[in-house]
């Protein structure tokens, strides 16, 4: 997909999204309510209309081949970059998915190991060190000091003794 095609696709996608937002906002009154002022849906509705109009503007510029992006025929994401950025994005999605399953302290070491060892080509020793160290620091900073309980999934019971010691 070239940048030019991506530009059009994105403008259409965002335009459709604007329409959806208009539909959602319109569930609340979007006009003037006597004695109350503008209805609850008015603000997001009219802003979504402006979003839609700017998408139309982007498409008009695209048709007229105006602007740097609208005439750029290079690939939108090169193959190599797609793989690299895609892998990172995917690993993040998997990590967050694992948060509710095996918890932050199960997912973070896996993420760090994967990133450092396989994406970063660092040694097993260094990758392992970070995979152990970072979750420990996270635990002490967020859970103990800030008292923010992070998701633990089914590993929750394993933390009861730690809570008893530190909290």
């Amino acid at each position: 997909m070239s940048v030019r095609v991506a530009e059009l696709a994105m403008a259409i996608l965002m335009g459709v999204f604007s329409l959806y937002l208009m539909y959602e906002s319109a569930e609340l009154p979007i006009g003037w309510i006597p004695e109350e002022g503008p209805g609850g849906g008015a603000w997001p509705f009219w802003l979504s209309v402006m979003m839609l109009l700017s998408c139309v503007g982007i498409i008009v510029n695209w048709v007229r081949r105006k602007g740097v992006v609208a005439v750029f025929e290079e690939p939108y994401i090169e193959r190599g970059i797609l793989i690299e950025v895609g892998l990172v994005a995917l690993s993040l999605i998997v990590t967050v998915g694992l948060f509710s399953l095996i918890g932050v302290y199960g997912a973070l070491p896996l993420f760090l190991l994967f990133y450092l060892r396989f994406l970063g080509n660092h040694s097993w020793k260094l990758s392992g060190l970070f995979a152990v160290l970072i979750p420990i620091v996270t635990f002490f900073f967020f859970e103990i000091t800030l008292k923010i309980t992070l998701p633990k999934g089914f590993t929750e019971p394993l933390f009861y003794p730690l809570y008893r010691i530190f909290l």
Binding site: V3, A6, E7, M10, M14, Y20, E24, S25, E27, L28, W32, E36, G37, P38, G40, G41, W43, P44, L47, S48, M50, M51, L53, S54, C55, G57, I58, N61, V69, Y76, I77, G80, E84, V85, V88, A89, L92, T95, V96, F99, S100, V104, L108, F111, L112, Y115, L116, L119, G120, H122, L126, F130, I134, T138, F141, T145, L146, I148, L150, P151
Partner: protein, 504 residues
């Protein structure tokens, strides 16, 4: 005048409390590092690290984040000079002459000049700030809802009238930010709104940090991964010889450029006040002017010292300038201050002129901390140049996963809802995809912070006027502000019309 000095003195008493002093030093050091790392600037640092500041009281938190902001302005120059890659967009202009100097083996000269110019820029602008802010806040005390809304319109209008980006994409960015901020419960009727098919996670609204960390954390890192790949391999690092003797000689030479430095400082401060402008255009403008007023303009681009001092003084001054509207009017002057402002709302510090009355110790503590942060950033910068250069050699593949971890946990911390982490990932990935198509991100972040303040201001104004928009035009302060905003909004159309007439 005497009042201001008294308040400033009381501010220093707060800034020099041991905990705050430590926060200033830690903030400066972290900021230096963040600024120096290519791909990370002050806005990324402040967005990613904001959740960590829940540890300390609000005043300390803002002082810490402001110190990061400052340190990052100093740090940006280091990679501009040593690697030829700007450490942050604010340091782009520093590469023009800083890099040639480094190639001539004079990296230490460029580094010292950059640090000293940053110090001058920071100090001049903080002094300006100290004397401008109280009267401005005093005037703004009489502002009601119509004035507040007019000011926000003005802030958004600067992006459209003065921003260099595609106008439609800028408008889109502003509107989507405002709409996202409207998700949740309608502030007046309390009804659920825009919960996109009844998803419970949207009921509590979208925290601005979710968007800020998504765009400036996740999105920015994906962007940097791409940039690094395109650049291919590690860039050449210049050598810097730092000795006390050489540093003294360098400082002496730098004194010769004082006119340029002072020009950069004052220019940067005023450019920084504008929400759409800020440190990057400020430093580029300062560079351009320095070249114009120079007796020897041909020297520029080949290693002119003025070419380093002008942009460096300007970007530091601009960062202070952007805090002026944030503190006095509640309108952020840059994406970084937008995030600071959002943080202040979380901490219960209602932004706006009332801060100067209701939270004097906070305001003056912060202002005093800027003086202190400046000094510490200078000392740390000059004293630890070798260490920062060592840090620059840290592979990005080590830094990136650590930042991702911070983003994921930081995105969870404010609301403690896993749904927000998902949302942050979506914003990050879409932010990256949109940025590749030149959609500006800063307006959206500004909008999501200002949205919850803009909507009630608009609705209250219209309620007062029973639906007439004339209320924004027939009041002594709101009128001129709104007219200025409209002129800015129309500026691109006027330019286009002129082009058509000129052509035809």
């Amino acid at each position: 005048m005497v009042d201001i000095l008294q308040l400033l003195a009381s501010g220093f008493a707060i800034a020099f409390q041991p905990q705050n002093l430590m926060l200033i030093i830690a903030g400066c050091a972290l900021g230096l590092f963040i600024g120096a790392m290519p791909g990370l600037g002050s806005v990324n640092g402040v967005a990613i690290l904001l959740p960590l500041t829940f540890l300390v009281p609000p005043t300390g938190a803002v002082i810490f984040l402001a110190a990061i902001y400052y340190g990052a302005m100093y740090g940006g120059a280091i990679s501009s000079i040593m690697l030829g890659i700007p450490g942050a967009s604010t340091a782009v202009a520093t590469t023009f002459d800083g890099r040639p100097l480094a190639k001539q083996g004079l990296a230490d000269k460029a580094l010292t000049a950059a640090a000293a110019a940053s110090f001058v820029g920071g100090t001049v602008s903080v002094v300006l700030f100290t004397f401008f802010a109280p009267p401005l806040a005093h005037v703004a005390l009489v502002f009601g809802a119509p004035e507040e809304f007019a000011l926000m319109m003005l802030a958004f209008a600067t992006f459209i009238g003065l921003g260099g980006d595609d106008i439609y994409k800028t408008i889109f960015s502003i509107c989507i930010g405002l709409v996202l901020s409207a998700v949740g419960l309608d502030i007046i009727s309390g009804e659920p709104r825009l919960i996109l098919g009844g998803i419970i996670g949207f009921m509590h609204g979208i925290n601005f940090l979710v968007l800020a960390i998504g765009v400036y954390g996740i999105g920015e890192m994906l962007w940097t991964i791409e940039e690094n790949r395109k650049a291919g391999g590690q860039p050449m690092m210049s050598k810097a010889t730092v000795t006390v003797q050489r540093t003294m000689a360098n400082l002496k030479e730098m004194l010769g450029t004082w006119k340029t430095t002072v020009m950069g400082s004052i220019l940067g401060f005023f450019v920084g006040i504008l929400p759409a402008a800020g440190a990057t255009p400020g430093s580029l403008m300062a560079y351009g002017i320095a070249r114009q007023i120079s007796k020897d303009p041909d020297k520029f681009g080949k290693g002119a010292l003025e070419g380093v001092t002008a942009p460096e003084s300007a970007n530091n001054a601009a960062s202070t300038g952007s805090m002026l509207p944030m503190l006095t009017l509640g309108i952020p002057g840059s994406p970084t201050t937008a995030i600071l402002l959002g943080g202040m709302v979380i901490w219960g510090l209602e932004p706006g002129p009332r801060l100067f009355v209701d939270h004097q110790e906070f305001v003056w503590g912060l202002i005093a901390s800027l003086y202190a942060a400046n000094l510490f950033a200078l000392l740390l910068n000059i004293g630890f140049i070798p260490m920062i250069i060592w840090v620059l050699k840290l592979p990005f593949t080590i830094l990136a996963p650590l930042i991702f971890v911070l983003c994921l946990i930081g995105g969870y911390a404010p609301t403690q809802d896993l749904f927000d982490v998902w949302l942050m990932l979506i914003f990050g990935i879409f932010g990256y995809l949109l940025r590749k198509l030149n959609y500006p991100m800063a307006p959206a972040v500004l909008a999501i912070v200002l949205g919850p303040l803009a909507e009630p201001a608009l609705r209250q104004s219209l309620l007062i006027s029973s639906g007439s928009f004339a209320i924004f035009f027939n009041r002594p302060y709101a009128g001129p502000i709104m007219v200025t905003a409209i002129i800015l909004l129309l500026l691109p159309a006027v330019k286009m019309a002129r082009r058509i007439i000129w052509k035809g």
